[in-house]
Symmetry: C2
Subunit: 400 residues, 2 copies
């Protein structure tokens, strides 16, 4: 099996880290000047690697092997969360670059725009897969600044370019590498995770309407306290969900707000954001039913309750043959130091898996930290992961 | 018994409403230009009523009967909450003015500065009772703008004036009238409430420290979710407190905040503000003990919990003889349409009661609304309350 050049890979990663560097991490939100610079930098690296590089109308950077024959597509994303880590995204893209250089042929490389969701949901990979309309692009805006996606694309210089669309016949499949963003590998002293499936998730906003009142003069018996109603629902969820959940199911109340939120006022309004994730569709459905049951019970109390589903994604199973190729390579290079595992976070692979056989490889996150500038992975683990990735790619292409 | 002039009282109340009028209510925060204007306006009215009027170094407006003999002190406050009602405070002050005019002698009238707490806690009445130090005045600032109390007093023109201090030998006691700020009188179709005691209150800030993590990749079993810990404590309070409470005990979680409060992040921090109120000291102590027990139980979970007592006030019993005088007057003017009741809100009378026999009379709040510009009381109820107040004052002075 061909050996990757670990030092070359690390040099590229270090160079990418300088573009928008923040402390030991990177601040490179989608279509910021630094992000645009990183896309051009990547296109130049792809060109050096003898790929046909382009940046398309949604900002996807795409490096195409000009040789004939079926290809394996590899990629991830270049932008980061705010003041976040240097590996989340960039590592997967530069694995693709390094594998393309190492194998010399058969690899296309992509950096999907806005996986981190500054403007929308998986805009780049959905665009490539034909799952993003012009109408959706029209209405997307930056979640913090409100700047329209159209304006951001114009400022970035990508306006008016065609959007690259997938030719599914060209590809054997899609491979993506990523940091784990959790501590499961580290906790089990493992060095590689072979993703079995990417979780599906359901997200909700639940609102309570009661009656705002003076906290000193309003008797308990006549109160319609929206905050108490909210607390009782969350407590009920925390009791019920463990009876339905799998060992890997996760659910989270990420935010709670009381209105008006003053010490001496009985809250007249309250809302929370809630989500749950699992790799099993039936479990997601059972949790969904339980949530709605609990909401219906809450509505029997003194407050009105409304629940709005903010988004749903289905679980994405990874391709068994690709998992086998990754496992074979992991067994050769790190025997006993890898495990199959689900991905609790979302990735572009969940979009690509809708149109191509897809798989993912994880490397450990030190301390499980991600979305923070202290995010890190040991250099040896970064290099090991890329070697395993290259071996698996070679094996898949050999079978194609 | 002497009859008050209801139309004169209402004219004064309407005139006061014009100073800082906001929709059907008033916006007259402490030491705003409108508030200062209202204090001068009141001083002029007190002078017209042949009282010796002054405004002192903390902004208290004070009208002193120059005749010899023991007096009854009457008052409340002139400033309002932001965009609040026309009667909360002003009604009690102008009852004092009307009773002074009606009885012709024996009544001193005060408008205590900043009962509404824009700069501190009961600053005016505490100053008058000798319970406010210069050091505390030095550090008080506006809760919204941060403007120092010293600067606000200078801008108002009250700097450098002496602060009036109570001569307890001068007074038979203190009477205060106020809107109920609740719907208890209205719900029972009553027109007058004779306050038995002003509740004591305890206020707390409770903070939870867990560990911030990715909501997709962090297993439930290893989470330290500060938000869930908070919810479980509040739910436990809601179960335990009813087993200890009196029918009139109230407790309120007024605000909840999760940190960082994002949909896909397990909250690493959480805090709430909590308060409870009761007229019975032993009940307050029992609730306090229960709260600390529940916090200690919560601390056995995965998160650190700290509880800080933000303030404590003791219950203030109203003088039984004064309650009797109010009840006698109520029986004459509104037989069957009054009730004894606690005050769930704080009032200057809780300060004055520390140095003088004190009592309070409530009139109904339409819809129980207060601290809002729609706050209101029927004119007939306003006039009836003042007549009862005058009769009770005459009876108390006759016994002095």
């Amino acid at each position: 099996m061909p050996a990757i050049d670990g030092n070359r890979l690390l040099r590229d990663l270090y160079a990418a880290r300088e573009i928008g560097r923040y402390k030991t991490g990177v601040h490179r939100p989608t279509f910021s000047p630094e992000d645009v610079q990183a896309r051009h930098w990547l296109a130049a690296r792809l060109t050096e690697a003898r790929l046909e590089a382009s940046i398309d109308g949604i900002g996807n950077v795409y490096g195409r092997d000009p040789a004939p024959g079926r290809k394996l597509l590899m990629g991830s994303h270049m932008e980061t969360q705010n003041h976040a880590g240097w590996l989340d995204g960039a590592m997967g893209v530069l694995y693709g670059l390094e594998v393309a250089r190492t194998l010399g042929r058969g690899i296309d490389v992509a950096a999907w725009a806005d996986e981190e969701g500054h403007f929308g949901s998986f805009l780049g990979s959905r665009s490539f897969c034909g799952l993003l309309t012009e109408q959706e692009i029209d209405v997307c805006g930056n979640r913090e600044t409100g700047v329209l996606l159209r304006d951001a694309l114009r400022n970035a210089g990508f306006s008016g370019r065609p959007r690259q669309k997938i030719d599914t016949a060209r590809y054997r499949g899609y491979l993506e590498a990523h940091i784990e963003q959790g501590a499961d590998l580290e906790d089990h002293r493992l060095r590689l995770g072979i993703v079995t499936a990417i979780v599906g998730s359901r997200r909700f906003r639940i609102q309570f309407k009661g009656q705002q009142n003076h906290a000193g003069t309003t008797r308990m018996s006549v109160r319609k306290d929206a905050g108490v109603a909210l607390v009782k629902l969350v407590a009920a969820i925390e009791e019920r969900f463990p009876t339905i959940a799998n060992p890997r199911t996760v659910w989270t109340t990420g935010d709670i707000r009381l209105d008006p939120g003053a010490p001496s006022i009985v809250p007249g309004g309250a809302e929370l954001v809630f989500q749950f994730r699992d790799t099993d569709q039936a479990t997601l459905d059972a949790l969904d039913a339980a949530l709605h049951e609990l909401v219906a019970e809450a509505a029997n109390g003194p407050c009105e309750v409304t629940v709005a589903n903010r988004s749903s994604t289905a679980p994405s199973a990874m391709d068994p043959a690709f998992q086998g190729a990754l496992e074979g390579a992991a067994r050769r290079h790190a025997p006993g130091l890898y495990q199959p595992m689900p991905s609790g976070a979302g990735h572009d692979a969940q979009i690509l898996s809708q149109v191509l056989p897809s798989a993912m490889l994880f490397v450990p996150s030190i301390g499980g930290i991600s979305h923070h500038y202290t995010e890190n992975t040991r250099d040896e683990d970064i290099v090991l992961g890329c070697q395993v990735f290259a071996d698996a790619a070679a094996a898949i292409l050999a079978e194609a």
